[in-house]
Structures are given as structure tokens and as C-alpha cells.
């Protein structure tokens, strides 16, 4: 019997230059935390191989409730999609200690 509670996982993959801004944004928009990993990749902005400053990418993961997930994705869509290399997706997951991530 699962001991988890439904929660959203928002994942943002984007330029490293945005790391601090995004971190501030998601905290202001209601998230209670986030996790960041260094990644490399390819997309519509070409190959971002991560070997020097300008082509480094990050992957930010945010566990939050459904409303915050919409707020965050709407915000990054409006604010960053046009001018930055960025991909965003949302998954349904089950968390332990749901109170850590809600409202």
C-alpha cells in the first residue's frame, strides 16, 4: 500500500545563466525548494555541449502542488521561452511528507 501523496514535479532544462533568476522566481512563486543538476544537451538552439561558460545548461526540478506548477510554467513560458534555450515539463509523482510541498 503506497505511502505517498500526489504532487507535481516541474522540470526546467535551460541555460546556466538563468540559474539564479529561476531559483528566485520559483521560490517567489510558491515553491518551497528546488534541486539543480548540471547537464548538457541539444535542442532547437543547437548543441549545448557544456564545455565552457556560454554553453552550459542546468536541469531544475521543483516538487510543488498543482497550482504552483501552473504558476511556474506559465511564468517561465511568458518570461523566458522567447529568448532562451529552455524546455519545461511536468510529471505526476507521489511524495512522502506532502506538507513540505503544498501551498
Amino acid at each position: 500500500m503506497p505511502n505517498t501523496h500526489p504532487c507535481k514535479l516541474v522540470v526546467l532544462i535551460t541555460e546556466k545563466a538563468l540559474e539564479e533568476k529561476l531559483a528566485d522566481d520559483v521560490m517567489h512563486l510558491g515553491a518551497h525548494g528546488y534541486t539543480v543538476a548540471d547537464v548538457r544537451g541539444r535542442g532547437s538552439h543547437g548543441n549545448r555541449a557544456g564545455t565552457w561558460d556560454a554553453d552550459r545548461s542546468i536541469r531544475m526540478e521543483v516538487l510543488c502542488d498543482a497550482n504552483t506548477a501552473v504558476t511556474i510554467t506559465t511564468h517561465v513560458e511568458a518570461r523566458y521561452f522567447r529568448h532562451y534555450a529552455m524546455v519545461a515539463f511536468v510529471a505526476d509523482v507521489g511524495v512522502l511528507r506532502p506538507e513540505k510541498f503544498a501551498g
Binding site: A17, D38, G46, T51, A54
Partner: protein
């Protein structure tokens, strides 16, 4: 060709040949931190021997040079090259700022030929890093309802960006500690300098070749600009260096600084301050064309130009 430049060529050739050679990302970061600190320390140490009053008027002239270059570059890019305001301004900002590694290669060029220069020239490197970027941002934001400049974050990015902190911090520490205080640091910060520079150039060669594909889309105009603009800036630098009374070697270094385009500080600042600009264009121009042009062809050419104008 200098050993140092050969490392760039090795990296460039390896990447073009699709070798899997890569420098670890954190080694690149570590090397750039090291180079910035070392140059700052060296300059600060020499500055300690100088009277500030002698350097002040020169410093003002050098800052003016950093403001003029992007103001000249912008109309060339915008009117002549038909680049939109954001891209023209961003590229102009890159060329207004400077490349630390090009400067280091310039110093190496002088040492190999045993030509003297004012040893406090790294101060000018620090002074030139910032004004060009600020002018570039202003050009993007002024003249048109293209949004106002948010000066807070921009000044923060410029003055507290990592390259500024390391260069200026090194300068201050070098100045405070003086030659005697730095003596035990010499083997690390000065003895290893050229070797570290070689590794960094190897990486720059790899990066430049990886970006070279973007040349096809960026167009012939930009390629031409990336060669003509440094020469033009070098002439400005030579004139200013001669006017403020620098030695021939010092003038050549100032010309090299003027000719160089930033690919560390400027891209970082522009990405935040002028997101509308396509970083591919400015990086292709600054790193794929101007940087190798300067270290392979430019510096000897500017040496010749300095010989003509400076006349010593």
C-alpha cells in the same frame, strides 16, 4: 608560430577532425579563475611601484577608449550590416570589452621578443573590461521603446561578475601585498602562467571549432566585421597609447586590448541584460574569428601599426 598559439591550433584541428578530446568543464573554469587572478596579481604588484597621479590621466584616456569603440562599432553593425538594434548593440559591447587571454598572448609576444612595456598594464585590462559592456547595453535599451535599462542587476553583473572580481581582487591583493608579499606565490601564479595559458588555448581551440559551424548562418558581413573591427580598434588603441605616452611595448598591449573582443564577461552580462540578442552571433564573431585572428595574425600586424604610428 609561438608554442602557445600551436595549442590553439591543436584544439581547433582536433575538433574539426571530430576527435573526442574534451577538457573537463571544471578544468576550464579552474584555468580561467587562475589566469584572471594571476594577471590581476601581477598588475597590482607593479602598480604598487607606481605613483597614482602618474597613472590617473592615462586611466581616464583608456576608459574613454573603451567607450568610443562600441559607439563606433554599433552603427557599422546596425546601419551597414543591417543587424537589428539588439544584436548590433550586443556585438558592439563584446568588442568594446576585452579578452584576457588575448592580452596574455600579447604579453607573451613581448616577452619572447624582449620588448619592454609598462608593467601596470593589467590595470588597463581591468578598466577596459566594463565600459564597453555598459555602452552596449545602453545602445540596446535607449532610442526606441525597447524597454528601460534595469541598472541594478546590470551594474551588479558587470562589477561583481566573476572576471571583474578576480581581476580587480587580484589587482588589489597584488597592490597591498607588494612584490615582497607575493614572492612565495610566484611559483604558482607566475611560474605556471604560460603552461596554464597553453591548456586554456587548447580548450579555446576546441570551443572555437565547435562553434565554427555557426559561421555559415551568421553571414559574410559579420565575418568581415570580426576582422576589420579589431584592426580599426587597434589603430585607436595605438593612437591613444601614443598620446598618453606609453612605450612602444605598452602601446602594442593597449592596441591588442582594444582589438580584442570579450568572450567571458560580455556574453554573461549580455545574456541577462539583452536577452533579445542571439548569443550565437556575438560568440561566433568574437571567439571563432577575432580571437584566432588576433593571436595568429593580429598582434604582429598591430606591432607593425605601432611601429608606423608610435614611431619608436
Amino acid at each position: 608560430m609561438d608554442a602557445i598559439a600551436l595549442f590553439f591550433v591543436l584544439g581547433f584541428a582536433a575538433r574539426l577532425a571530430r576527435s573526442d578530446l574534451k577538457l573537463p568543464a571544471q578544468l576550464y573554469e579552474a584555468l580561467s579563475i587562475y589566469l584572471l587572478l594571476a594577471i590581476g596579481l601581477k598588475g597590482g604588484m607593479e602598480l604598487a611601484k607606481q605613483s597614482p597621479m602618474d597613472v590617473l590621466p592615462q586611466a581616464v584616456a583608456v576608459i574613454a577608449l573603451g567607450i568610443v569603440i562600441p559607439l563606433v562599432a554599433f552603427p557599422i553593425l546596425h546601419k551597414l550590416g543591417r543587424l537589428d538594434r539588439f544584436n548590433a548593440a550586443s556585438i558592439a559591447g563584446h568588442y568594446g570589452s576585452v579578452s584576457v587571454v588575448t592580452f596574455a598572448v600579447g604579453i607573451d609576444y613581448l616577452s619572447a621578443r624582449q620588448l619592454a612595456y609598462e608593467p601596470y598594464l593589467p590595470l588597463f585590462l581591468v578598466l577596459l573590461e566594463m565600459p564597453g559592456i555598459a555602452v552596449g547595453v545602453l545602445l540596446a535599451r535607449l532610442g526606441g521603446n525597447t524597454g528601460s535599462v534595469r541598472w541594478g542587476p546590470l551594474l551588479h553583473e558587470i562589477f561583481l561578475g566573476k572576471s571583474m572580481v578576480l581581476l580587480a581582487g587580484g589587482l588589489l591583493i597584488g597592490w597591498a601585498a607588494g612584490p615582497k608579499g607575493l614572492a612565495p606565490l610566484e611559483p604558482f601564479f607566475f611560474g605556471l602562467f604560460k603552461g596554464a595559458l597553453c591548456l586554456f588555448l587548447l580548450e579555446m581551440g576546441l570551443v572555437a571549432a565547435a562553434q565554427a559551424g555557426a559561421l555559415r548562418t551568421s553571414g559574410a558581413f559579420l565575418a568581415g566585421f570580426a576582422i576589420v573591427m579589431p584592426i580599426l580598434s587597434a589603430v585607436f588603441g595605438t593612437v591613444v597609447g601614443t598620446a598618453i605616452g606609453l612605450s612602444a611595448g605598452g602601446t602594442l598591449l593597449l592596441a591588442t586590448l582594444a582589438a580584442s573582443a570579450s568572450y567571458i564577461a560580455a556574453p554573461a552580462a549580455m545574456r541577462i541584460a539583452v536577452p533579445e540578442a542571439n548569443p550565437g552571433l556575438s560568440i561566433t564573431a568574437a571567439l571563432v574569428i577575432t580571437f584566432p585572428f588576433n593571436i595568429l595574425v593580429g598582434i604582429p600586424l598591430y606591432h607593425y601599426i605601432v611601429g608606423l604610428i608610435h614611431g619608436s
